[in-house]
Symmetry: none
Amino acid sequence: MRKKELIRLSATKIIARDGFCKTKVQSIADDAKIAVGTVYIYFKNKDGILDYIFETQHKKIVKLSEKLESQNIPPLEKIKKILRYHFEELRKNPDLSSVLAQEGKMPVVYGSPWIKDGFVGIPYIFQKMLDESKEIGEIRDIDTELFGAIIFFTGIETAYLLQIQGKQDKHYSEFNELVTFIINGIKS
Amino acid sequence: MRKKELIRLSATKIIARDGFCKTKVQSIADDAKIAVGTVYIYFKNKDGILDYIFETQHKKIVKLSEKLESQNIPPLEKIKKILRYHFEELRKNPDLSSVLAQEGKMPVVYGSPWIKDGFVGIPYIFQKMLDESKEIGEIRDIDTELFGAIIFFTGIETAYLLQIQGKQDKHYSEFNELVTFIINGIKS
Amino acid sequence: MRKKELIRLSATKIIARDGFCKTKVQSIADDAKIAVGTVYIYFKNKDGILDYIFETQHKKIVKLSEKLESQNIPPLEKIKKILRYHFEELRKNPDLSSVLAQEGKMPVVYGSPWIKDGFVGIPYIFQKMLDESKEIGEIRDIDTELFGAIIFFTGIETAYLLQIQGKQDKHYSEFNELVTFIINGIKS
Amino acid sequence: MRKKELIRLSATKIIARDGFCKTKVQSIADDAKIAVGTVYIYFKNKDGILDYIFETQHKKIVKLSEKLESQNIPPLEKIKKILRYHFEELRKNPDLSSVLAQEGKMPVVYGSPWIKDGFVGIPYIFQKMLDESKEIGEIRDIDTELFGAIIFFTGIETAYLLQIQGKQDKHYSEFNELVTFIINGIKS
DNA sequence: GATGAATGAGTGTTCATTCAT
DNA sequence: TATGAATGAACACTCATTCAT
């Protein structure tokens, strides 16, 4: 596999376990069975690794949302699809949900170069969809900026909670509960 | 003020700004205008300071929930009251909402000595209330363990989001939106 | 002794032996019988230690030259006195002559904060004295900027050469030879 | 050009700018537009590059001195000729004068394999010439070992000083001043 | 010979923690 | 209690060197 991806996967595993700050670059390298120095060929520094983890996930979602935009789907449905996709990703990679939940609000992330259209950009995508939804009367009059973010972070959080509550197997049904919760919570 | 409280407040301020791991004990001491050594009279170590921040907030909520238990209030109403109280606390101390949101899921917290009946204990309180609520048919048949945690963390998250979105002044109305969102989301 | 001086002396010893770049901060700390961390209480970084060594020597010479300025001494005599003083310093501390000779022309030194009136400032002091000397016809028409520097660096170099040629004991007579060499070299 | 020479020239440029210790082999390779690995085909290690720079210059001077030996020239004249040749070399390659002045007294150089008859050998050549000169009464009774070295290093130093004082164009006249300085300094 | 990705020992620097005052 | 200088283990990052291609 491409070395950079190898490092991303090992880093996700270790950071999920130890937390970003307590994670040693050496541990990541050990897990990836490469030398420390190699990490620094692909990443400027330790922060860069975390950035890349977020960036990768961010890109996937943005790509999906762009694809959905070109389709004629009701906005709430689009939100559901993105949530489902993201949820499925996190189910397949539980460590990722830990990292996103644990490190997703760290100041370090907000100082990242990709922040301009970064992870925080996804709440904005949700906001736009909620705006559309509001216009056609699907949902009631909520603060879409706030709820865009709430919905996004609640999604990550729920995936994380399922994991620490040992309910990985119920992912599918619990996800439906979550969607029902959200939709009922905002619909007119 | 009692030195220990002084340290807690300074620590909350600094940790909110820099994140726990990047925070230096020296910075906290500087902010509190005391010597580093003094911190170690009141706290076993750096982790102990974060513990104490969570513990303090936890105790307040447990105290309130115990008081509510002795009263004859519908369970959903109890949840609302606790959320409102917590929200009000976070509004008065925005740094606290940053700390709770940023560090509340860190492994470090889960390794803390007070964890047994700790911060994570609050979701359990919510769970019990949701169970009661479910029994009397106020809400539909949800996974109360999961939703106890979702509701609790969403509360903290929302307070944090209001702050970074610069909506401190709309705290009250946004809180009502959040409560409506949650109640609508779970009611039968 | 003051810790900072202790570090300066140990650093001079170790740098003379290993060269600045190959010198480990740990070695300096070991020699000074203190912890590495202590070095960083007194110095911003490793470069700062070298700066301080130069700065200290520079200040001594500037002080002497200021004292001489206030006296009614022929300029060539002033140069002799400064050279003699510096030479005597280097004889008492052979390691210092190694450091000044070896590191005195490194780019690192030229990037130092004290460079404005720094070590390179001493050649300028010599230049002024040569200018005076030229005016009164003591010496011939030389490029005083160039020879100010040549005389200064030759002084350091000679002290260094005496050391590596194992002639520390002949310091006094060799110094007189050097002075004669310089004076004969520039006089009218 | 032969790769080894290419590397020597690039190394001289980079070392003059950054100092030997701070110079990365990668930088030299970049400047020479070759791969790092290639450097290690022509040189055993990084020190070897510096050795070669000195060795090259040393060989030229030894060659010249051997040629001069076979001619019937007064010893002082020989010294002048060598100095002039060396000076001219340094004028054509200012980076070289920086390297020789900056690194010529480093312990690293004294640990080099070619040191036995190495760069430090040139002072010895000068010493022999001064001995001859002293015998025929051209110069006064000086410590020829010391002055052989002083004269040699002063030559390098002066070339270096001319460069940092921005007097490259005056090289010729300044050189004559230097020679006059030295000859007057040592003659009977 | 030439390459440059990979290596990993080595080092500057930080910072939680201690303890003599 | 309070102090803050001193400690030294720990860690991010570098870079000379190697070797499979």
